[in-house]
């Protein structure tokens, strides 16, 4: 095996392509945008567990109407699934029974969107994280990556969809409120700019410190989320995962992805160098032949 002009040009060409590809790969995680995301503030001290949000979410998104016998009950943890984008649970806490809504958190830098190789999971400019069916190939890497286990997959369909809360992105674009926000009779769910919501949440805690636990869940978790929670008790008591890292999840793969272009530059050069320097080693084998 000699290196001739042809193979040299071949290597050169491939290195060039690699460099070009490498560059593209380094354009990496979602930028921490200066644009203001929309968000939703959920105040569990106001929630009465009436499930109106569940019903309005189902009818808005053409999902089956919730079963009347399926209501929040202490000791039972209901989970979102491919027919329920949001559920209410109730927990027995140090301050009595507290209701909690769960749905997609709409992270500022969503793991699902950075995991998606087709950009089907998409963080919109205005904040909601949406799923686009014409792009998705159903690999379910979003489900593997999501620290909140939000995306749900229709395992029993030949044309499966990923189901998750979209913050009613279509309604927001038409200037309407998300269905759950609009229909909540207790005004437990507030829609607005994320920054305003954090200010509002702080104000509520400040005005009535006995009523609230002094923390906003989602302000820092997983790099900050669009959905923010106020609670009367520490969040562990409400089944929240409080061990999540404060850095965003796409950060975890950043180091690896950043190393890709350098490997693409260094490896071929190194390999070619080794090849050159060992080229004459094979003499002794040819004697055997």
């Amino acid at each position: 095996m000699r290196i001739n002009r042809r193979s040299f040009l071949g290597v050169l060409g491939l290195t060039g392509i690699s460099l070009a590809t490498g560059k593209k790969l380094s354009a990496n995680p979602v930028k921490e945008s200066e644009t203001e995301f929309y968000g939703i503030l959920y105040d569990s001290t106001r929630c009465g567990g009436c499930q109106t949000c569940e019903y309005s979410c189902a009818s808005e998104n053409a999902l089956p109407e919730p079963d009347g016998n399926d209501y929040p009950e202490v000791g039972i943890i209901r989970k979102t699934n491919e027919t329920k984008r949001t559920v209410i649970n109730v927990y027995n806490t140090s301050k009595g029974e507290v209701y909690v809504k769960s749905q997609c958190m709409h992270c500022n830098q969503p793991a699902c969107a950075s995991a998606c190789l087709t950009q089907a999971m998409h963080k919109t400019e205005s904040g909601p994280v949406i799923w686009r069916k014409d792009k998705c190939m159903g690999c379910r890497y979003c489900m593997v990556s999501c620290p909140f286990d939000v995306p749900k997959f229709e395992y029993h369909s030949s044309n499966p969809k990923i189901e998750k809360c979209t913050m009613c992105f279509d309604r927001i674009q038409e200037g309407q409120l998300p269905a759950c926000v609009e229909n909540c009779p207790e005004e437990a769910i507030t829609f607005g700019k994320r920054r305003d919501l954090i200010a509002e949440a702080r104000k509520r805690i400040y005005d009535d410190p006995d009523r609230y636990y002094n923390e906003i869940y989602g302000e820092h978790e997983a790099g900050g989320t669009g959905f923010l929670y106020l609670s009367p008790v520490p969040f562990e008591e409400l089944g929240f995962n409080t061990t999540l890292q404060d850095a965003s999840y796409p950060e975890l793969t950043k180091g690896f992805l950043y190393s890709v272009p350098s490997v693409f530059v260094l490896w071929p050069a190194l390999l070619l160098g080794i090849y050159k320097s060992t080229k004459n080693n094979h003499n002794y084998v040819e004697e055997n032949e």
Partner: protein
């Protein structure tokens, strides 16, 4: 040798190419062998299950849950299978880059194995996709998810398959007896090898990097930010152990294909490989210990998962590593093969620990693969072996190249 000359002679006799191909597709060898009798029903059952899977959705065949969306088909077929296919890049590195020509006789069979492995594991990936008709999206460029590790892995699979095909293509040219094509294709080998090794480095580690974002979901004894490095290093001895294992079987099954010179050289080859296995396993073991100590995981050892971790590390890394070292020094081929088998089991255990067993280990309901997932996995494996056998019986893979192809 006479075999190959026959084919060339036929071709040179002016036999039309289609006749040649029809001839090539005729089955050869005995049909009623134990392997055929076991594999055919499983392959047929696999096809039925695949039809059901596409008609009724993944849930009809698999036990996947909303918490565990990747099961056996990804954890074993793809992640483990690709680790075993790592032999191709290691062997091409040794032969073409380091010019260790005494390993030349196993290059083709290893590359063929690697190529088929990628084709079939990428195929298994398609079975697992919920919306496979959109699989072209990340390829044709209407939606590049460039921040995704999976995007990188998908592209690398595709490019590496092409690189491996180029590396293997001189054998095809020799088979159909096309001198000019062989010359052109051979001249591309070095470029394909360099490109292939670069791709392999990145996607072997990339398969580990896929799980970096599942930080809280993987048992802390197996999750670390160094998964990519660990996956890469372990793919070296995983691939070589597979080369030793597969080579030892081929020596018997395809003994009619292997020249007596190469047959004699085989022991020397596996001795050399056992040394590389031992060294790379030592590096791997060392990295695992470093990671364990830095992660401060002492308290986790006295739990069921901790014992399982110890079994993996001591029984399936340290033990085969010592066996490789010992058998290399004592030139014991039997122990090398034994060590290779233990290593293969160890890699299966390790990859499944990261992807399936340790994934959501704390969940209330655990994922176990359904028998149907296992049957489909076996079917994929058997089809691959069938095709491998078909190619080896016809192309100059294990046997020597025809004389006209020897000079360069």
């Amino acid at each position: 040798m006479s075999n190959t000359n026959n084919i060339i002679a036929k071709d040179n006799d002016g036999m039309p190419i289609w006749k040649f191909l029809i001839d090539a597709f005729k089955p050869r060898g005995k049909f009623f062998t134990p392997f055929n009798m076991i594999s055919i029903p499983i392959i047929l059952a696999g096809f039925v299950l695949i039809v059901i899977r596409f008609a009724k959705g993944l849930g009809s065949v698999t036990n996947l849950t909303q918490e565990v969306p990747w099961g056996l088909w990804i954890g074993f077929d793809v992640v483990t299978g690709v680790a075993f296919a790592g032999g191709a890049y290691v062997i091409t590195f040794m032969v073409y880059i380091l010019n260790m020509k005494n390993y030349h006789s196993i290059v083709r069979v290893t590359v063929l194995n690697g190529f088929l492995a990628y084709v079939f594991y990428a195929g298994a990936l398609l079975l697992d996709l919920g919306r496979p008709w959109n699989v072209i999206n990340p390829i044709i460029g209407n939606s590049f998810g460039v921040s995704s590790v999976l995007f990188l892995v998908a592209w690398h699979f595709l490019l590496y398959m092409i690189a491996q095909l180029i590396e293997f293509s001189p054998a095809i040219a020799e088979w159909i007896g096309h001198k000019r094509a062989r010359k052109i294709l051979s001249s591309m080998t070095l470029a394909a090898v360099i490109f292939g090794i670069t791709l392999s480095t990145l996607h072997q580690s990339g398969l580990g990097a896929l799980y970096l974002m599942a930080k809280e979901k993987i048992h802390p004894l197996w999750y670390s930010e160094f998964i990519p490095v660990l996956f890469f290093v372990s793919s070296i001895f995983a691939g070589l152990s597979m080369v030793i294992f597969e080579g030892s079987i081929s020596q018997h099954v395809f003994s009619d294909q292997i020249s007596s010179k190469n047959h004699k050289a085989h022991n020397g080859i596996i001795h050399g490989l056992s040394k590389i296995c031992a060294i790379s396993m030592f590096i791997y073991f060392f990295l695992k210990i470093l990671e364990f100590v830095h992660g401060k995981h002492w308290d986790l050892i006295s739990s069921p998962m901790g014992y399982w971790y110890l079994i993996e590390m001591l029984g399936f890394v340290l033990l085969p590593m010592l066996l490789f070292f010992y058998s290399y020094r004592s030139q014991n081929s039997f122990l090398i093969k034994l060590a290779a088998i233990i290593t293969i089991l160890g890699i299966i255990i390790n990859r499944l620990n990261v992807t399936v067993i340790g994934f959501r280990w704390d969940a209330t309901s655990h994922y176990y693969p359904s028998w149907m997932e296992i049957v489909v996995t076996l079917a994929v494996l058997f089809i691959e072996i069938w095709i491998f056998r078909w190619v080896v019986r016809r192309l100059p893979v294990l046997r020597e190249s025809p004389i006209w192809a020897k000079d360069n």
